[in-house]
Subunit: 298 residues, 2 copies
């Protein structure tokens, strides 16, 4: 590997250790070569070529995506809300500068317009250079990119009912650093204001049932205080700590059943998907008994 | 932590690194104190007290169980075959010396007899000392312990049709070392011979879809060549590499639907289960598209 004094890499291995979010446990990935490291205006960014997971994007010390397993996250955070909606046409992505969610959104033939709001342009540029398989939809004719704060963007939309969205996907980094505000009640209220009456919202929960169940319970309670329905589901990703990541899905109306696909993928759509399918949609909402009870019967 | 020159522990962290089974990735657990380390006649055994996962049992360098998350594995490998069966009375556990599966089996009021065949008595004694929450059913009146090779035990049973089992659970360690033979076709044939006509067999697959999909495909194909049905399902366990572990479930008859619970837990049974529930039973068979296609449409 190239020389690197970045403290998270030692003896040729990247170590994801975080005493606050997941004390006492860690993930290691073998590093072939450091491709990029800097502190942008907003966060610490590391890209390395790993031995067995392809190129890896790390923000503030936490793995965001690897080329080998990124589809599990991108597909589930995108297709769960889009197939839970009967006819999504206008989609907003808050964050998601690596382009992975955008790649999935434009697979839906019914989508006319996909807007991506990313605060940190350097993430987009790095993804285009080092994660080209993810950053492949920025030039798509349906796509609009806004380089600005997602919070402020939503505040502006909330004032203009005609701009509201069918689906909003919050693809933020974890709630320490620039993304902290995405995990609070005010953010759910903004999402609610920016969503059409029959719309669906999804946000990554940054945690999973094994790591911080009480945090998830609080997040679902917070979302439930704003939306008519808020449900927890998850996707499995081997390079996220504990091997899974939670997602929170919400609607404004009681009668939208988020747990089942309202539309099924067409054959053409399904052939482009490696993780999502309609059965997996439903299965991802099924939780172990102890987690279900803690989240839904506090 | 106490002093220890065991090579898998460095700077106070246990590192699970295995270039053969999962090259380029690793799991770390912070060690408070090494409780036990030896090489038994059959394997290298390590027990340590971790910072955040309770006591941890490691065989040949691979985490077998931690007090915090062991129920996810024990419950699923036990309750999937037992609830897929309409009336399991006579249950065999091959391996499982830590006692966790036995603890789950005796929760079923319909089970009359649970036989555990473990080759390595030291695992039982260590579990009784360091994992008492798992090793709590050895004295149960339904339980018989046989300290012998599981393979030979099954060969003997195969000769005596009257001794056949309703459910057989193979709770082995991974297929390097003493458990290697548990992952080959001859073993499935022995299981078939030792099982009643309406019986159900389950074995841990030692891998998951993220790590070694071709190995799983071959294992399912091997089981399918012996049994009328062989299906793959999984459980999530944060301290197993990649966060999940596969299980292979088999029956002799086409008309047993392994994917759904044939009986539901009684209220009394369900109240003792932290992971398993009837919905989770079915969800655990739902696979990501790419994995499903690779396993079932080779």
């Amino acid at each position: 590997m190239s020389s690197c004094n970045y403290e998270l890499i030692k003896d040729g291995w990247f170590r994801e250790i975080n005493d606050k979010s997941f004390p006492g446990q860690g993930l290691e990935l073998k590093v072939e070569k450091v491709l990029y490291h800097s502190e942008s205006e907003f966060q610490d960014i590391l890209v390395f070529q790993s031995a067995t997971y392809g190129n890896v994007l790390v923000l503030d010390g936490i793995v965001q995506a690897t080329e080998r397993d990124e589809f599990a996250y991108q597909e589930m955070i995108t297709h769960i809300p889009l197939y839970a909606h009967r006819n999504p046409r206008n989609v907003l992505i808050v964050g998601g500068g690596d382009g992975g969610v955008l790649r999935e959104v434009v697979k839906h033939s019914c989508v006319d317009k996909a807007t991506l709001v990313e605060i940190d342009e350097s993430v987009i540029k790095l993804a285009q250079k080092y994660l080209p398989g993810m950053a492949c939809a920025f030039e798509n004719e349906k796509v609009q990119i806004k380089l600005q704060d997602g919070f402020q963007f939503l505040r502006d939309v909330a004032e203009k009912p005609e701009q509201r969205y069918d689906v909003i996907i919050t693809d933020s980094s974890d709630p320490e650093g620039p993304a902290e505000a995405f995990f609070q009640k005010e953010y759910f209220q903004l999402l609610h204001s920016a969503l059409k009456e029959d719309g669906v919202v999804i946000a990554q929960a940054s945690e999973n049932v094994w790591l911080n169940l009480d945090y998830i319970r609080d997040l679902v309670a917070s979302a439930s205080s704003v939306f008519a329905r808020a449900e927890y589901c998850y996707t499995t990703v081997p390079t996220y700590t504990s091997g899974q990541l939670g997602l929170i899905v919400c609607t404004k109306t009681e009668n939208t059943n988020l747990k089942h696909a309202a539309r099924h993928p067409s054959d053409g759509e399904q052939s482009q998907m490696r993780y999502y399918n309609a059965q997996m949609h439903s299965a991802s909402f099924v939780l172990p008994t102890w987690a279900h009870q803690r989240i839904y019967r506090p």
